[in-house]
Amino acid sequence: MSSKELSAETPVRIDRSLCKACGICIAFCPKQVLEADEGAIAVVAHPEECIRCRMCELRCPDFAVTVRGDRGG
């Protein structure tokens, strides 16, 4: 996948059927990519800021977050 194709996609995906709205991914994102919607479910508000550190995916207790692409992409 080229970087151009990658940038056209959302790097972070939230599976809303698995998310329990704990806010961990939002609180610990170093770039404030994620925000809470009215139901406290995480939404990808600033995808262009994502550095693909994957901390949201690694710390998600509900297996709801997936980060695509390599770090620094």
């Binding site: 806010g23 961990i24 610990f28 690694l58 207790p61 297996f63």
Partner: protein, 275 residues
């Protein structure tokens, strides 16, 4: 969940039963990532658990899984490993399951140095049954059975297992999830008894009674109180009060139980056939 990890889960059982902000899913995913790193086959790997919130984890994992009685996961796991030493055997247990109900089994599995990796999800409380204090609830912390604060001292479970004879002992946290995953991988690779204590969060029964009511609060608590083992070695006991010492405490090579057993059977094959 990314597609690579999805292959290791019984996805039709998700979402899981754990509360919002509970760290058990973080540890479960770390275990799966460690297994994926090692390239272990699902068919050659067995998960055994006891009773408690953490012990629900194998139910979500698409491996050979065995959900047993309270405190006895290591007993069943020992049976599996002795019968089939070729299998990778992993025990998932909680702080109460491992240190109270199953405390005796824990020290004897370590003493035998049987090739089982035990991951203890330490949330400092009996979560499933309503928040009673466990042997790992901090002194003075509050629990449903300790409304004035917990009078008990805690076990340092890593030191206990090390003293009992394990080959690999480490402690990590769900905040420090990458080092935790590496510890689990090292424990899985290790021939002999491996023990990884994973500090995890129970916002509902531990956190809410201890001014840490959310998963985010408890991860911040882990971050702010974790001390690497190298730094802890230079600190006074008073400075370490209330801290979580993280890192690898022990990583040694020692004779493994099923190998010793196999050797004895071979050495005495003639005696046995003459029976």
């Amino acid at each position: 969940m990314n597609d690579k990890l999805k292959a290791y889960f019984r996805t039709d059982h998700l979402p899981h039963i754990w509360c919002p902000g509970c760290g058990n899913g973080i540890v479960t995913a770390a275990i799966v990532r460690a297994i994926d790193d090692l390239g272990w086959s699902k068919d050659d790997t067995v998960f055994v658990s006891g009773i408690g919130c953490s012990s629900r984890a194998p139910g979500y994992l698409d491996f050979n899984t065995l959900h047993t009685t309270h405190g006895r996961a290591l007993v069943f796991a020992t049976g599996v490993k002795v019968a089939r030493p070729d299998l990778n055997v992993i025990v998932i247990t909680g702080d109460g399951d491992a240190s109270a109900i199953g405390g005796n089994h824990l020290i004897h599995a370590a003493r035998r140095n049987i090739d089982i990796t035990t991951i203890c999800f330490n949330n400092n409380i009996y979560g499933m049954t309503g928040g009673q204090y466990s042997p790992l609830s901090p002194t003075d912390s509050f629990a449903s059975t300790a409304p004035y604060g917990n009078a008990d001292r805690t076990f340092d479970l890593c030191r206990l297992v090390e003293a009992a004879g394990a080959s690999y002992v480490a402690r990590g946290t769900t905040y420090h999830v990458t080092p935790l995953t590496n510890m689990i991988r090292r424990g899985l690779e290790k021939k002999g008894f491996s023990f990884v204590e994973a500090m995890t969060a129970c916002p509902v029964y531990f956190g809410r009674r201890n001014k840490l009511p959310t998963g985010v609060d408890l991860l911040n608590w882990q971050r702010d109180n974790a001390v690497p083992v190298s730094r802890a070695a230079k600190m006074e006991p008073e400075e370490l009060a209330g801290k979580i010492v993280i890192g690898t405490f022990l990583d040694v090579e020692m004779p493994e139980y099923t190998e010793t057993y196999e050797r004895l059977l071979k050495e005495h094959a003639a005696d046995r056939s003459g029976e």
